[in-house]
């Protein structure tokens, strides 16, 4: 038995951890176990990849083939986005959709159907998949895509690992001319101004806003709006960039060398960081930045979740449908302000259309808020849950730890179908379940 946790560091459980590096080994593990869930790189925040038995996929991490005409990559599920970037950026390719960290496995990207700063144009990760290869818990291997075995494909993308163990993923990379991003930054003093920016920035690949959760009253919802697009060769204006247009990210990462009982991040520092960040970006700027800085600023510290101490932290990520009154968002920020639980980091982003069975995104605004774990946190989340449910929104399963099964059924329109299909897999003998799926009564 090994101690196991996800990125939010809560819950921490003891689990039977199994590894595999070939298909026979995996089949053997599955046949001998009940109640298991695949575990990638542990970057989901809550309990999605925790169970009595977990199967780690990180050792199953080879590249299988690459078509450099179409940019189609076939790789095993345990490979990290970080590694894909190291290999393919120098060849002029980039990952089509990336979350805010490059340290997730491709299998995890599919299971959570991750989204990025380009969702308004390019949709979620599943949009770029050509085909998946999945092992069901009866040991059979099934290939599925939008064209073939569509039903199974729908259960797998965004299905949080409950349909089977994803073995390999065939998907399309995006062509780039350089590894730099043209970034436009603007400080805005209200939520309305930020949302107006989102709605008029369709022509930029990437957009995101960072919001200062500590600002109140008139300045409620103030923050920095950031947009970006891939720089072309002609956009590079310095010699060091021109000489190496496909520079990859720096492999060095700082690591917090101890597991501190005291939080390094407290309310005072949280306010200070937010204040400084807001004000160094006081002026509007147009700059050329490396993709590592644009997409992955937090990856520089390999275990930044340790800043929150042993108790860990929780992220509350919701989406509300497009057209929801902006007052609802303001009300949410106000409630958070009044709760006295410090929201260290708030990120806002616009989703475009999405047609999928069980994935998180719907057209609208998504907000992700980081809170340190606190005794009153679940009562705060209960209040927020009601607002989200009443306004037709939903929570992101990859970040969640508190949602009730009731809310899941109300907010995910296909929840009942999903539940049925998952429990009917393999003639009702699906062995996959996680603490998350137990909590939401999917399994």
């Amino acid at each position: 038995m090994q101690k196991l946790e996800n990125w939010g560091r809560n819950p921490i459980i003891k689990s039977n951890v199994l590894n595999f590096e070939n298909i026979d080994e995996l089949k053997d593990h599955i046949s001998k176990q009940a109640d298991l869930i695949p575990y990638g790189n542990g970057r989901s925040y809550g309990d999605a990849s925790l169970q009595d038995t977990v199967i780690k996929t990180r050792r199953f991490n080879s590249l299988i083939s690459f078509d450099d005409e179409k940019g189609m990559l076939h790789c095993q599920s345990g490979i990290l986005i970080e590694e894909i970037l190291s290999v393919f950026v120098p060849k002029g390719w980039f990952i089509p959709v990336t979350p805010g960290t490059k340290f997730i496995t491709i299998g995890g990207a599919v299971a959570a159907d991750v989204h990025g700063k380009n969702h308004h144009l390019d949709g979620s990760f599943s949009n770029h998949i050509y085909e998946l290869e999945v092992m069901k818990t009866d040991g059979s291997i099934i290939k599925c895509s939008k064209e073939n075995n569509r039903d199974f494909f729908d259960l797998t993308v965004g299905g949080m690992g409950l349909s089977g163990i994803i073995l390999s993923v065939k998907f399309f990379l995006r062509r780039i001319e350089t590894s730099y991003i043209i970034q436009k930054k603007k400080k805005l003093n209200s939520l309305d101004a930020i949302m107006d920016q989102f709605e008029s920035s369709d022509d930029w690949n990437y957009s995101v806003a960072w919001i200062n959760g500590f600002s109140k009253n008139l300045k409620l919802g103030q923050g920095i709006f950031l947009k970006g697009k891939h720089a072309l060769k002609n956009d590079l204006n310095r010699d060091f960039q021109r000489n190496n247009p496909y520079k990859i990210h720096n492999k060095f990462r700082f690591k917090i060398p101890f597991d501190n009982k005291i939080k390094l991040l407290n309310s005072f520092f949280g306010k200070l960081f937010n204040f400084i960040y807001l004000n160094i970006n006081n002026k509007q700027s147009l700059t050329l930045v490396h993709y590592d800085q644009f997409f992955y600023p937090l990856d520089k510290i390999s275990n930044w979740n340790y800043l929150y101490g042993k108790k860990g932290f929780s992220q509350y990520q919701f989406v509300l449908p497009f057209g929801t009154s902006r007052n609802v968002f303001k009300k949410i920020f106000k409630i958070i302000n009044d709760s006295k639980i410090p929201p260290y980091l708030i990120v806002l982003k616009l989703f475009g259309e999405q047609k999928s069975f069980i994935s998180f995104p719907i057209k609208g605004y998504t907000v992700a808020i980081d809170f340190p774990n606190h005794k009153n946190i679940s009562s705060l989340f209960n209040i927020l849950d009601k607002i989200i449910t009443n306004n037709g929104g939903r929570l992101y399963l990859a970040k969640d730890k508190y949602m009730s099964s009731d809310m899941f059924e109300k907010t995910y329109s296909n929840a009942a179908d999903f539940k049925n299909s998952i429990s009917n897999l393999n003639n009702g003998k699906n062995k996959l379940s996680s603490l998350l799926s137990n909590r939401l009564k999917i399994t």
Binding site: Q2, V17, N19, E21, S62, L63, I64
Partner: protein
């Protein structure tokens, strides 16, 4: 400079990671391992990563009779060999069954000596080359839980030290890598403190660092050097009473 690198035990976690690092740096790679399936998966993976030359051959370290032919039939002249072959079994099993103990000695020490001697002779004649073996901090002192493994690694350390001494005049370098705890198949199921546990990628990087810096013996995490120094200087009269 582009080198021809032979990787023994290439499909182990550390071997794979090292092969990928070599591909990233553009070196020609010759993979050698026992399991053909894993070998061909790795071969394909590397071909996607690099335009350099990749070849793979089946190699069974226990079949010492085949070693000479294996080495002589390699199509490239090797500049650098890295041996990742190793096998850990607890002493609780070894003490009851000598065959298990013997396998531990053979895989970690005697059979490795067989192939490294063949390579060392060639490098000595050519007055060039680098030999690297992954040994272990376990070889620095014998401990109750796995003294069979410790003694095999201690023998390997001593062998490498002697080989280094012999080959120094011939301009051939011998490097001993001591990873300490590392997150691989070998340590699956063990409870390891995370700040002392390296990843296979750390081992690959430290191998290249050792090559470039001219080190003879390299600990992957510096802290292991100090930990092992302390463990080594504890007098036996005290050490025998400890449970570590």
């Amino acid at each position: 400079m582009k080198k021809n690198i032979l990787i023994l035990g290439a499909t182990s976690d550390m071997g794979r990671s090292f092969a990928r690092e070599c591909a990233f740096r553009g070196h020609n790679i010759i993979l050698a391992a026992r399991n053909n399936d894993l070998l061909s998966t790795l071969h394909k993976d590397l071909e996607i990563r690099t335009n350099a030359h990749i070849q793979s051959f089946r190699f069974d370290v226990l079949d010492t009779d085949s070693h000479k032919l294996f080495y002589e039939s390699l199509p490239l002249k090797i500049d650098l060999v890295v041996c990742f072959i190793g096998y850990l079994e607890e002493s609780s099993k070894c003490k009851k069954n000598f065959n298990i103990a013997k396998t531990v000695f053979d895989i970690n020490f005697s059979c490795v000596v067989s192939i490294l001697d063949i390579i060392a002779n060639d490098f000595e004649d050519r007055k060039d080359g680098i030999i690297i073996a992954i040994s272990s901090t376990a070889g620095d002192r014998g401990r109750a839980s796995r003294y069979h493994y410790c003694s095999a690694k201690a023998a390997l350390n001593t062998y490498l030290s002697g080989l280094r001494n012999r080959l120094f005049p011939s301009n051939v370098r011998v490097i001993t890598i001591k990873p300490g705890y590392c997150n691989t198949k070998m340590t699956d199921g063990m409870k390891l403190p995370s700040f002392l546990t390296s990843e296979p990628e750390d081992v690959s990087r430290s191998i290249f660092n050792a090559i470039n810096s001219g080190k003879d013996i390299s600990y992957v995490y510096k802290i292991w050097k100090w930990i092992m120094l302390i463990i080594q200087i504890i007098p036996e009269i005290i050490f025998k009473r400890l449970k570590i």
